[in-house]
């Protein structure tokens, strides 16, 4: 009587959609731009997949074609992670400063 993990994942997926829905409504409109940049940064969690792809297979032939795609993906995602979070930080700093 084991339940297929897919069902669980689906539950998680759907509940996350709800959370995303609500979380955004509660964001103050003045922070919509940082919101975009932070969600952008977060979406680069795809790097998880990239790392798996890069390291997939035997550790000897690192540069199989699939791994190369993985490495490329890592670079792209990394640009995004660092860039995204840092830019958000800069933006938020700006908001902070304006406050007395």
């Amino acid at each position: 009587m084991e339940i297929d993990p897919f069902i669980f994942r689906l539950s998680i997926f759907i509940l996350s959609i709800f959370v995303g829905y609500y979380v955004v409504w509660s964001v103050t409109p003045s922070l919509h731009t940082p919101l975009m940049s932070v969600t952008n940064a977060i979406s680069s969690v795809i790097i998880v997949g990239a790392i798996i792809a890069a390291l997939a297979g035997s550790s000897i032939e690192v540069f199989e074609i699939s791994n190369i795609f993985g490495f490329l993906a890592i670079i792209l995602a990394a640009v995004n992670i660092f860039g995204g979070f840092l830019v958000t930080q800069r933006m938020l700093q700006m908001y902070k400063k304006k406050k007395k």
């Binding site: 922070l31 790392i51 997939a56 795609f69």
Partner: protein, 464 residues
């Protein structure tokens, strides 16, 4: 690292991402939110390393690439001027999209590494998931590139439309689904590549008909796409962090673009379906409103003014028509409570009778020592953060200073454009008494607040 433990950590990182977004519900907690996001990302990366458990040369390469990418990202983040924010975000999106495509390709090329079966015999569900991920990723990539080019000004911001556009998009969309179906039955390489290619094309076609003014909505929508792509890959890789985050980003991006459309009083579907209604619109109003205006809402206005150190109010006939003087007084009271210095600038011919504004401001008990005439206050605009122009128009029109042909040439005007930002509260772009267009509406430091002056002011009071 056991699968359970890493699943637990992925869960934690997903929760940290939720908290990151939650932080943005107020400016005070927003930076803390960002830290949560960073922590979540760090955990996700480390856990992935540990769970792959492959500590050979590969790891070193990964680290190197991570650092290369990171440095580029950091460099861009520090260098980019704040005004280039929207295009930056668009650019970053394209990267996420491309990364998703690459991961999907990688999984397709080497399914064993991901436990998805073997080449030519990939699990059905995984195949669907990965090809969906790749398609959405590709659309995100090419769409973001277009958005980036438009925002950067490399490509014209005006919508590019042609006949049958929507029909072609539809065909391409259906083609993708058909190809996915064939892919599932044939597991053929070529089909997979075609899916990716068609998706790239679709991304371009989807975004080009959208005008520059709607780009923020588009960016947020692309953001949402990138989320769904990540979630798709997450299902493929059976990775909770990806699923949670993908769904989170996907739904929040979609809602955000919806909220933004509502704020700009635009139909969500028109925007997303790529200038669906653009043709209808252009006939009626576009002809006149060639130039783009920045369009804000009460929250934006409240935020700007709350954080200003000085605000000058410029009332005009529209304030009188809307009978907004009481609401205005209330707004000013709220601002003063926030420590903002507020004064009123009265143009000698504002309104429709001499002293029109004075009568109304006195009715609302505005203290006389906050009310200044043009000559007294005109120099102060240069040092003021926000000019709040409420139902005035002609009296701010700089054309009076520059164009001898203009019917109002020679009339002294209030130099509102010299203040850091100008908020214009009026119901539309229509002109004032003199019947001439006001160039200020299209300036960069102008935010138009289209609404009845009283309603808008009341809403601002609420947001303060």
């Amino acid at each position: 690292m056991t699968a359970n433990l890493s699943a637990l950590f992925y869960l934690i990182s997903g929760i940290l991402f939720i908290l990151a977004l939650r932080g943005l519900s107020s400016p005070e907690t927003s930076r803390q939110g960002n830290y949560f996001g960073i922590a979540g990302m760090t955990i996700a990366i480390i856990v992935t390393f540990l769970s792959v458990g492959n500590f050979g040369t590969g790891l070193i390469y990964v680290l190197i690439f991570l650092i290369i990418g990171g440095s580029i990202g950091a460099f861009i983040a520090f260098r980019i001027p704040m005004t280039a924010m929207p295009e930056l975000v668009a650019g970053f999106h394209s990267l996420v999209g491309l990364a998703a495509v690459f991961v999907a390709i990688s999984a397709f090329l080497k399914p064993e590494a991901f436990n998805l079966g073997t080449i030519g015999d990939i699990k059905l569900a995984s195949l669907i998931e990965m090809s969906l991920g790749a398609a959405i990723g590709a659309i995100t990539f090419s769409g973001s590139i277009i958005a980036f080019l438009k925002l950067r000004g490399i490509m014209s911001g005006s919508p590019i439309t042609f006949k049958g556009q929507h029909f072609i998009n539809l065909i391409l969309g259906l083609a993708i689904f058909a190809l996915i179906y064939y892919l599932c039955t044939t597991q053929s390489d070529n089909i997979f590549w075609s899916i990716v290619l068609i998706s790239f094309l679709l991304g371009v076609l989807l975004i080009i008909p959208i005008g520059g003014a709607d780009m923020p909505v588009v960016i947020s929508m692309l953001n949402s796409y990138s989320g769904w792509a990540a979630a798709g890959i997450g299902f493929t890789l059976e990775n909770t962090a990806l699923i949670i985050t993908g769904a989170l980003v996907g739904s929040s991006g979609a809602i955000l673009s919806y909220i933004m459309c509502k704020g700009m009083n635009r139909s969500f579907f028109n925007v997303i379906l790529g200038g669906w209604g653009a043709t209808d619109q252009s006939s009626s109003s576009q002809s006149k409103e060639q130039k783009p205006v920045k369009n804000g809402n009460a929250d934006d206005a409240a935020f700007l003014m709350k954080n200003a150190s000085s605000v000058i109010i410029v009332p005009g006939y529209g304030m009188a028509v809307a009978q907004a003087q009481h609401a205005l007084r209330e707004m000013v009271d709220a601002l003063k409570k926030n420590g903002v210095k507020v004064s009123y600038a009265i143009h000698p011919v504002a309104g429709r009778m001499p002293g029109h504004m004075n009568v109304l401001l006195a009715e609302a008990n505005v203290p006389y020592d906050e009310v200044f005439e043009l000559e007294e206050i005109n120099n102060d605009f240069a040092n003021c953060d926000v000019a709040y122009v409420i139902g005035a128009n002609d009296v701010t029109n700089p054309v009076a200073k520059s164009d001898p042909q203009s019917p109002i040439y020679g009339m002294p005007v209030l130099d509102v454009e010299k203040s850091k930002s100008v908020l214009f509260v009026k119901r539309s772009l229509s002109p004032g008494y003199a019947g001439i267009d006001n160039d200020l509406f299209y300036r960069d430091n102008t935010l138009m607040l289209f609404a009845d002056a009283k309603k808008m002011t009341e809403e601002i009071v609420k947001s303060l």
